[in-house]
Structures are given as C-alpha cells and as structure tokens.
C-alpha cells in the first residue's frame, strides 16, 4: 500500500469535510430562524473537527512536514480533492438542506464502513464521526421531508434543488486507482456497496418527501483530481485570507 494513495484518500475525505463545513458556516447569522442558525453552525463545527483529524492523518502519510493547518490554508484550489457537491454555493435554504442530506446519507455509510478499516487511526476517527453524521442525517432528512411535503413553494424549491444537485452525486461513488488500492488493502470500502446503501436511504426519504428522484444520467466529475468549479476559488479566498495575509500568526 503506497503512502501516496493513502495520503490522497485521506485528503479527499478531509477536504470534503472542510469545504462543506466552511459553506455551512456562511449561514451563521443568516439562517431562516435562530434554531436553524445554531444547527447549521453545529454541523459546520463537527465537519471542521473531522477535517482537522483527517487532514492531520493525511499530513502524517505525506511525510513532508506539513500539518492540518498548512493543508487547509496554504493550498490552492487545484490541490483540493473535495467532492464538487461540497463547494456548490449555498443557494436558498432548500438547496443547502438538500446538499446536506445527499452528503450526510453518503457520510453515514462511508464512516460506518471505515470504522472497520484496517487503518486503525482512520477507524478510530470514523467510529467517532459516524455518530455525528447520523445526527446530521436525521436533521437534514427531516427537513427534506418537511420542505418536500410542505407548501407548493417549498416543494418546488426542494425539487429544483434536488434536480440541480443530482448530477453531483455520482462522484461519491467514483472508483479510480487510488480507491482500488485502498479497497485492496481493506482500508476503504467498495464504492459500489456504499452506493446501494446510500440509494436505499435517499429513496426512502425522497418518497416520504413526495419528491421525484431525477433519472440517473450524466454525472459531474473532477473534484477528486483537482478540477474544480470557479466557486471553490472564491470560497478559499475568504477561508484562507487570514493565515495567508499574516503567515505564522498566533492568537
């Protein structure tokens, strides 16, 4: 098992948490109600905490003396390995919740499987994070049902969000050489198995929400190899400005 594949895999996991965590934090002070403001900030905090642990592990495998902070704040967009769905701009509340639901349902399956990884440090992080992901999924899932099975306005916004985000879900189950190497070493689960479990959760919730699942068709790709949308660069400019403007700043 080459350390480079291990590094790459941990980077993907950590970057997705970091980027989505930052996106959610953009809602802080702007959510439709106080309770939801608190909720989105809490989920953002959990994801950032997971990113911190995963990127610290990634840095260890990279072995170039970088730490989690260096990976988070001193890389450019092309070096990020997050899923494209994580960098999508927030849009309206329905869009944010739908993005969260599709992601949470994936993360619960992924962490559940990674808790049995042959990489003991990763298994430890996943075993802890899966509890948080389950809590997030409950929250986002309840909102998807409430919006989908709500008013005509909330239903149409939830359906629009689903249609827009659906082409970004294929990336969650992409299998390339990196993934194949990790599956062979029993570090990572088989993406096909993840996909069937994810599909069951998504189908159940969408049915209850009276939302129509989009037909499976062309899927977006690129995040895992560093080909990102323009949106990520803008987001990183905000996220990284402090450590980049004041290198080595401590407080």
């Amino acid at each position: 098992m080459p350390d480079t594949a291990h590094f790459e895999f941990l980077l993907r996991l950590g970057d997705s948490c970091l980027v989505l965590g930052h996106r959610l934090s953009e809602w802080c002070g702007h959510a439709p109600e106080l309770e939801e403001d608190i909720a989105l900030a809490n989920v953002a905090l959990d994801l950032t905490g997971q990113a911190d642990m995963l990127l610290a592990e990634a840095a260890r495998f990279e072995g170039k003396g970088r730490d989690a902070d260096a990976l988070a704040f001193l890389r450019d967009a092309g070096d990020f390995r997050n899923l494209l769905i994580c960098e999508r701009p927030n849009g309206d509340f329905a869009h944010t919740i739908m993005r969260q639901f599709l992601f949470d349902a994936w993360q619960v399956e992924l962490y559940g499987a990674l808790a049995a990884s042959s990489d003991k440090a990763l298994a430890g992080i996943a075993g802890k994070a899966v509890k948080e992901a389950e809590y997030h999924l409950r929250h986002s899932g309840e909102w998807v049902v409430r919006l989908g099975d709500g008013t005509p306005e909330s239903h149409s916004r939830a359906q629009d969000a689903l249609d827009l985000l659906w082409p970004y879900t294929g990336e969650m189950f992409e299998a390339d050489e990196t993934v194949a190497a990790l599956v062979a070493a029993r570090i990572a689960p088989d993406p096909a198995a993840l996909q069937s479990a994810w599909t069951r959760t998504v189908d159940d919730v969408l049915a209850e929400a009276t939302l129509a699942k989009p037909p499976s068709g062309w899927m977006q790709t690129g995040g895992l190899t560093g080909r990102h949308s323009e949106a990520l660069g803008h987001m990183l400019a905000v996220m990284q400005v402090l450590p980049r403007s004041h290198p080595g700043a401590k407080w």
Binding site: D46, G49, Q50, K128, E132, Y135, R138, G141, E142, V205
Partner: protein
C-alpha cells in the same frame, strides 16, 4: 528507583486532581465525570495522560488539555504528556449516575438511557426527556442542536421552562 507502589500512589493522586478540573462548557462536571480522561500511566519521563474529545469539533478540547496539564503540574506531579485518543469513541454512557444527578441539579437534563447500539434509526423516536426543573416529561424539542455540540434545546409544557438536554450518543 520508583517503586510500583509509589507509581500507583502518583496515578491515584493524578485522578483525584483531575476530578477537580471542571469542563469549561459544563462546569457542573469534571473531565473525569465526563469520561474525557481515559487513562493515566506513570512513564520514565513522567505522567502520561490519555484524553478523548467528546465531539470531533469540540472547541473546548484545547482548553481542557491545557487545564489538565496545568492542574497536574500545580499539584507537584510534573508536566504530563498528553495523548489524544479517538478509540473507543466517546459516549455519554461513561457519565456516571452521580454525575447525571449533578447535571440535572445544574439545570441540564442528563442523557436519557444509554447510547444506541449499532446504527441509529433515521427517524427513530427520541425517548421522553424529563424537565430538570419540575420532572415532567411533557416536554418538546425546540432545536436538535444547542449552545455547545453536546446539547439540544427543549421546553417544558408543564412549567414553561426552556432547558438544555445533554444529547445521548
């Protein structure tokens, strides 16, 4: 040469010291009550302490670590080596019945029952949460998330008290 007996005494003393180090966000409980201190060992270089974070993103983790280091040093036990461990994952099951009672007296409803074994059902019903003020279970969740990662917000229909609930995980 430090005898095994002396080492045991030092470890016991360290546990007693940390039993007085309160969690910065839940000051009714110590870091020992919360199960954050996993193990204390006596090594050649001094005391080695294993801590586990409650939630991965808990912002208090760094403050707790510093409080633990300072308390051990102030007690004359030397600067300890701290190791952050993630496995086994922290669970509210580690909070003792006595600590749960003190949590309730402080005004926070303690975790109801024990953490779910295996996967949590997506929309599985939550257990009834008793109001820490009047004891009524006629309560309603107002937010699944609260002022800290470990809590949710509730309100009591019987006495109208809004209160925090320590999430059971």
């Amino acid at each position: 040469m430090v005898t095994a007996e002396k080492q045991d005494m030092r470890i016991a003393q360290a546990w007693a010291v940390l039993g007085q180090v309160m969690d910065p966000e839940v000051p009714a409980l110590s870091v020992v009550d919360l199960g954050i201190v996993r193990e204390i060992r006596c090594e050649a270089s001094g005391l080695a302490i294993d801590l586990t974070p409650t939630y991965t993103g808990c912002p208090a983790t760094a403050a707790i670590r510093l409080d633990v280091e300072n308390a051990i040093e102030a007690a004359g036990l030397g600067r300890p080596t701290i190791r952050l461990v993630t496995s086994p994952a922290w669970t509210t099951d580690w909070i003792s019945p006595d600590a749960r009672r003190r949590l309730k007296e402080y005004g926070i409803a303690p975790p109801a029952g024990s953490a779910p074994k295996g996967r949590r059902g997506l929309f599985a019903p939550e257990p009834a949460i008793a109001c820490p003020r009047c004891g009524s279970t006629d309560t309603r969740q107002t937010s699944a998330f609260g002022s800290t990662a470990c809590k949710a917000l509730y309100v009591c229909a019987a006495c109208a008290e809004p209160f925090e609930y320590f999430k059971c995980i």
